[in-house]
Symmetry: C2
Subunit: 317 residues, 2 copies
DNA sequence: CCGATCCGGCCACTTTCCGACCTGAATCCA
DNA sequence: TGGATTCAGGTCGGAAAGTGGCCGGATCGG
């Protein structure tokens, strides 16, 4: 019970939750003598976790940042917060860390007690999809199932709705999850069609691990990201929207400015350029800025804005 | 060096990164005999971390979810992803976990090696403020400084810009961080004015811990959240927007539906109700849904929509 | 059935751990 | 400046734990 290892973890935990513990208090909490505490601290230091100490009255120990991440000891709430945060990051809220987020999420979810997993799921309904215009929503539960299967080399079964609409049942050996411009793709060896395929995760239903493990095959070319990029040559072309605004670039609120590229044109005007997949996002900006403007292109965007404008006017009669 | 504790952590790490390790391989990696490995596994189980084992050919060990969170052993990338995810969650992207997120973020940041902290900061520019209509941006670096000072009972110095605009230097004993409807508040004992105050974090500059520790005073009433709510009686009242849409509730895309309350009225109509602080958000929804509608109230929203609509029409001539 | 794999008891040996005691050094405060 | 507080770490002897080797058993898949 009162194992040394367990005690060290508890000590690390205490040092992580509150700074500046006096040695006597730590020793009391751990139910050892102060001498042993000093030895424990020394051991932590030997392991590379720098424990800082202050002498004199009101001194104490504190954990500093070191060369490597120490084991994180989380309470229930913190674990839930981390899972929730990772899920939003994985769903594309933050550029460039989606894939790592999924990996970390998989790790956290796997070891998380079921009651906490339920709490995370309960918070799902409150999550906000930032980039809901960037791609269809992906069930983060499915995402972790896929990530886990990739990591653990477990065969996977799911239903897939092809672009044309027909539904098929698939059995695959998953290889990698790839996030590309707001969409998730699964690169896998289709065990029934005997070929490599990419699956859009949002078109994939009810994934379940069969528990059957397999040996990873070598992907032609080796790079899963490149593989996906090749396959989706018919990728959705984003529209380049350009608008001239009758307001100086500096007068655009900073919260708005970060969403697009604003170039000041002088004379109280600026140009807004954005790459978007749907036109709703730039409309939000135009509404929020509240200045007069002129749509430069493309024509479809002008049509869209005009239609919305006319609808708005009609809707307020 | 080859301490038992350290070895246990390494084992936990291995079990967290990959499922189904054969015992012989684990023993090899840890450089102990298989008998000792079995004992280590047993120890982990005694500590409450359920290590599952499969016998027979291709068997092995795997870490399952148990009653408590095991210590999380993260590699660099995962740690960065967690910090980034927590930061977006703390900035209000997800309702209801802001305060816990900050607590977890503080913990992670504090023990994170500096090089990783720099990577997290480098990703800052890419973060997306979801609720950019919910409140002014808050520097997450400042937020963690404040949270840490609250946790560790350290005196804090910062500059504060009052509502009227005058700038003052403050020295406080921080008590709690409170997140309320998209804004962060610091509840603290002002050491120079000898009274409790609440500070809006977005009006607060250059916070730095003095390193001087203090004994927490008792907050009158005890509840920091209630304290803040009392103080900001002049809180921004959210508007309740109501719109009747000429579309059945079921035909509203799910990504849009979660943003407001949609009630089907039958006959291909539905009612949308939203509580918002600015009117830009519902405008986005109206644009995205693309159906005819009628604004029921409040009148200011109708005016706002009409103004936007007229501007949109003018801007596409 | 067999072979692979995990399980855990037993034993002898080694290593580590622990508390007690002590000296030293840094820090703070009066 | 001097005393109180607190961390640092050496040494010692007994206690506790860890370790590897060996072995019979259980369980799984083919």
């Amino acid at each position: 019970m009162a194992n040394t290892s367990a005690r060290m973890l508890r000590l690390l935990n205490l040092l992580q939750t509150h700074r500046y513990w006096p040695g006597s208090e730590l020793a009391g909490k751990l139910e050892v003598s102060e001498r042993t505490l000093r030895r424990d601290v020394e051991r932590l230091r030997d392991l590379g976790y720098p424990v800082d100490a202050n002498r004199g009255v009101a001194g104490g120990y504190q954990l500093q940042s070191g060369a490597a991440m120490p084991p994180l000891l989380l309470d229930d709430e913190e674990a839930v917060a981390i899972a929730v945060g990772l899920r939003t990051a994985a769903s594309g809220a933050v550029d460039g860390v989606e894939e790592t987020s999924v990996r970390a999420l998989t790790k956290v979810i796997q070891v998380m007690p079921p009651r906490l997993r339920r709490r995370v799921d309960a918070l799902r309904s409150f999550t906000v999809r930032t980039a809901w215009n960037a791609g269809p929503a992906v069930d983060s539960g499915a995402l972790t199932v896929l990530a886990q299967a990739c990591r653990d080399d477990e065969r996977l079964r799911f239903t897939y709705t092809a672009r044309a609409g027909e539904r098929t049942e698939r059995l695959v050996e998953p290889h990698r999850l790839v996030s590309l411009s707001g969409r998730w793709y699964l690169v896998a060896w289709d065990a029934e069609r005997h070929d490599w395929r990419t699956f859009r995760v949002d078109r994939l239903g009810d994934p379940r691990s069969t528990g059957h493990r397999f040996r990873q095959r070598e992907l032609p070319g080796g790079d899963a990201g490149a593989f996906v990029r090749d396959r989706i040559s018919s990728a959705s072309q984003p529209h380049e929207v350009t608008v001239t605004l009758r307001v100086a670039a500096d007068d655009v609120p900073a919260e708005v400015r970060r969403w697009g590229e604003f170039t000041d044109l002088g004379g109280g005007s600026c140009r807004l350029a954005m790459k978007v997949e749907t036109f709703d996002w730039p409309i939000l900006l135009l509404a929020a800025i509240g200045a007069e403007f002129e749509v430069d292109g493309p024509p479809e965007f002008a049509d869209y804005v005009r239609a919305a404008g006319e609808r708005f006017v009609r809707g307020t009669r």
